[in-house]
């Protein structure tokens, strides 16, 4: 950004409302609403560049913690583009509160209700019935993450590392951080 972004109070409010409205649509994780954030922040409002948008997602994926933090980075970036650290902190607070407030409130109420009515046949059927689907979903998540490695013929060491990691975690009780450190080290050295 060559010139500083002008953010008026109404703009901050719009940013907040946009994230509020996306919150309840984020079924399957906040990342499912990323295309709409891109449309709004980059294409429509020009509050950040294409590469800043992509970097926010990549950084949050690489960092420890929930991936939803990419939304904090987007708010941060809008604030940085408008020129001050205070704005950056405010932007972060605005986007995170917006995306989390509706969904966490709804989840809290629904899970309390479910817990208090856990003997209802419908509640038991829902929770137990979803179990096999959930297992399939978790395996699918791991598969989709591996696919990001690229072509198995060329990037086979990465696929091998994924497979070996899965077997080690499945069969032993080794601490997960050792495995992550080993993977990071092998990548740093350029072995994979």
């Amino acid at each position: 950004m060559s010139t500083l972004l002008q953010m008026h109070p109404a703009d901050w409010l719009n940013l907040f409302v946009h994230y509020l409205s996306l919150s309840l649509l984020a079924v399957g994780g906040a990342i499912t609403t990323a295309p709409d954030m891109h449309r709004y922040l980059v294409d429509q409002q020009h509050w950040m560049t294409e590469s800043q948008f992509t970097a926010s997602i990549t950084l949050a994926q690489a960092a420890p913690g929930p991936n939803v933090l990419f939304i904090a980075l987007m708010g941060w970036q809008v604030g940085v583009n408008s020129g001050s650290l205070m704005n950056a902190l405010m932007g972060m607070a605005i986007t995170m509160t917006g995306i989390l407030l509706p969904s966490t409130t709804l989840t809290y109420i629904a899970s309390r209700w479910g817990h208090n009515n856990r003997d209802l046949r419908a509640v038991r059927a829902f929770k137990q019935g979803m179990a096999p689907v959930v297992v399939g979903l978790i395996l699918a998540t791991g598969w989709l993450m591996s696919r990001a490695h690229g072509d198995p013929a060329k990037d086979w060491p990465l696929w091998l590392l994924t497979a070996v990691t899965a077997i080690i975690v499945w069969k032993t009780r080794v601490h997960l951080l050792w495995l992550l450190a080993a993977g990071g080290f092998m990548g740093w050295m350029g072995w994979i």
Partner: protein
Amino acid sequence: MNLPPPQDHPQPRSLSDLFISFSLLALQGFGGVLAVVQHELVERKRWLTREEFIEDWAVAQIMPGPNVVNLSMMIGSRYFGLRGALTALAGMLTFPLVVVLCMALAYSHFADNPQVAGALRGMGAVAAGLIIATGIKLISALERHPLGKPACLLLAALCFGAVALLQWPLLYVLGGLGLLACVLTWRKIRP
């Protein structure tokens, strides 16, 4: 069905225990926190059984919002109500937020470093393996399922195929396969 005894496994001792536990979980969660939550809370601390974990994860997945954030709130609220939910939420977000901001500040200096890119690639590959192992371990929780293990494995395989291979939108898979699984289970557990 008789009420399962809720006190048959350890619990978080206090709100600060909850906060510290979730902070440590979150800070270990490179490439997603799911594998670490399952490993630490189910295998090590035993706050949840595998069956309870799957049930909670199903709800966390169905509800809008980030899955692990939903899951941490649900686990926190199970032991300490609203205070527990907010404490777990704070634990899950506070320190990772600080870390990710530091990374954002440092990023401009290291973005082009091939060693940093390589390390991230290696950790990404390990993170994928962690998730796959989590899924494999949770298969054992289907052992005593009302539908029987073969039917469960078939449903899990169909779900995997739809999401991983066909890449159908999650909403359709949950609405279709999920609904089917729930209706079948509902018929099986007829009182």
